[in-house]
């Protein structure tokens, strides 16, 4: 049963996975080999930019596509618990977000490990990217579950991301004289994961991981509950 659900998700997501791998790994490989910019720029751009791109790409289609095509009703009427369907979707979504960035990390380490950046620094930056991508995916899916199509789900995803950005801007504006407070403010948003991964602020990174993990659990439970209720929307 679970195997069948994974197979379906794999068939639906594999083209996005292939697209992400080609675009991000290709960009990293060409960028690091050509040496037109510092390695750090390529690494940060691929891990941070790639994480946002993949989260949007996957999050848009995870539930909304099935909803717009009408197959979600059939899926939810099968003799399988809706939370299992949701869990499989999230696991597969997270893998599709993570694998291209893992590919970037492998290429970065192989081509530029220890050249301008230490291998450890490269790995931490990419792990931050993977974490951010998964967190953004969960936020996006939890908030966009009621959206009727991919475009609307994508708008919700962009809205969530911009919401974090505005929050950070506001926080910095209010507490700009207290750097310690600014850093703690970053802990609240998933952007902190990216920032701390890039700057290796270990104490704050730990707190950011704890705060985000708690939020993630809440969002997954909330999203799973809303997903289960999706069959109820039509008279």
């Amino acid at each position: 049963m679970i195997k069948a659900l994974f197979w379906k998700e794999w068939c639906e997501q594999r083209w996005k996975l292939a697209y992400g791998c080609v675009i991000l790994v290709g960009f990293t490989l060409i960028g690091l080999r050509s040496r037109l910019t510092p390695d750090e720029f390529i690494v940060i751009f691929a891990s941070a930019g790639g994480s946002i791109l993949m989260a949007l790409l996957v999050g848009m289609g995870l539930v909304a596509t099935e909803k717009s095509e009408g197959s979600l009703a059939m899926l939810l009427a099968l003799p399988v618990r809706s939370w299992k369907i949701f869990a499989v979707k999230m696991v597969m979504g997270a893998l599709v977000c993570a694998v291209p960035i893992v590919g970037c990390m492998a290429v970065s380490l192989a081509v530029a490990g220890g050249r301008e950046m230490s291998a450890n620094r490269i790995a931490v930056a990419h792990l931050g990217g993977i974490s951010f991508s998964v967190i953004m995916l969960v936020w996006m899916v939890a908030f966009s579950i009621r959206q009727p199509n991919e475009a609307r789900a994508g708008l919700v995803g962009i809205g969530v991301f911009m919401g974090w950005v505005f929050f950070v801007f506001l926080f910095v504006k209010v507490f700009y004289k207290r750097l310690d407070l600014v850093l703690w403010g970053l802990v609240i948003t998933p952007l902190g994961i990216l920032q701390f991964a890039a700057s290796e602020g270990q104490m704050h990174t730990l707190w950011a991981v704890i705060v985000q993990a708690v939020m993630l659990i809440f969002l997954l439970l909330w999203g799973g509950y809303r997903f289960g209720k999706e069959g109820r929307s039509k008279l």
Binding site: M1, K8, A73, M74, L78, P79, V80
Partner: protein, 301 residues
């Protein structure tokens, strides 16, 4: 006494403030083809969704055999064959793929039977679902509902969107496959003429309540239209069971529920004129009388 295949008691349901079901009571006998009739938006799909545990009622109990549709959701879905209204499936899957995939969710899935159904329902095995015609799509949905050999099949407006030929074909398949095997079929539709020849029992749902239920033949015999010739206004207050009063040229047509000679005489006495004719009604006309009949019992001539 045999346990009914489906039993619904005091079912209430609201979408927000909108009350959709307001005390639905229903019993579907084992082995019958049960026509669940109602206009669009009358609450048929909502009732079916509650039966399958897809919706939680505000009040009331639904039972499929001995299973409670809210407490034994997975068992209910495993034991029932369900075809949704305008069922959309995964367009990228091939016919054989979707059959195998859906089969993996049912412990009692009969692969051999499913293969036989593919031939019987004339489905192209290697065609993607998105490339199937509407008729083929409906037949595939029927196959997916029957592959685990359920004893109860729930079809929610299964012929919606089909042309008349495809509709006829579909019904032929349903009857051929199910009627002889003792399967209970709960068939919702707003197309009365397609229910009439196949249903043993019917229930009419209107505005969230069952306004009439019974054997199709008995219903046909119990509801009659009598024609009266009248020159003046007629009022039928005090006469029970009048479903509709309408003017038809120089005649007044009165549709009566639970028709009897006594009722006919009461109407003749009340109106002061003799009935000139008595007409049998088809299910379409009976449905219309129950749903939109003029129960004002008064007509101006």
């Amino acid at each position: 006494m045999n346990e009914p295949a489906i039993k619904i008691e005091g079912l209430h349901f609201s979408y927000g403030r909108k009350k959709v079901l307001r005390g639905v009571d229903l019993e579907v006998p084992v082995g019958s083809i049960f026509g669940f009739l109602g206009r669009n938006g009358s609450g048929k799909t909502t009732t079916i969704k509650i039966l399958l545990g897809l919706l939680k009622p505000d009040a009331g109990v639904c039972k499929i055999g001995s299973l409670d549709s809210q407490k034994d959701v997975m068992k209910v879905r495993q034991s029932v064959g369900y075809m949704a209204e305008d069922q959309q499936m995964f367009g990228w899957m091939k016919v054989t793929q979707i059959i195998k995939w859906v089969g993996s969710f049912y412990p009692g899935w009969d692969e051999k039977f499913a293969r036989e159904l593919v031939d019987l329902l004339e489905l192209p095995r290697d065609t993607r679902v998105k490339n199937l015609s509407k008729g083929q799509n409906s037949r595939l949905a029927l196959l997916l509902a029957l592959g685990h050999r359920p004893k109860i099949v729930i079809l929610d407006d299964p012929t919606l969107g089909l042309d008349p030929i495809a509709r006829k074909d579909f019904l032929r398949y349903v009857i051929g496959l199910l009627q002889s095997n003792g399967v209970t079929v709960f068939f919702s539709s707003h197309l009365l003429y397609e229910i009439e020849p196949v249903a043993d029992y019917v229930a009419i749902l209107e505005d969230g309540v069952i306004v009439k239920t019974g054997k199709t033949d008995e219903l046909r015999q119990s509801v009659k239209k009598i024609l009266l010739r009248s020159a003046g206004d007629i009022e039928f207050g005090g006469v029970g069971g009048i479903l509709d009063v309408a003017k038809m040229g120089e005649r007044i047509a009165v549709t009566i529920e639970d028709y009897s000679e006594a009722k006919r005489e009461a109407i003749e006495k009340k109106s002061g004129c003799a009935a000139v004719d008595e007409v049998d009604l088809n299910l379409d006309e009976i449905f219309e009388a129950f749903v939109i009949g003029n129960r004002g019992k008064k007509v101006k001539v």
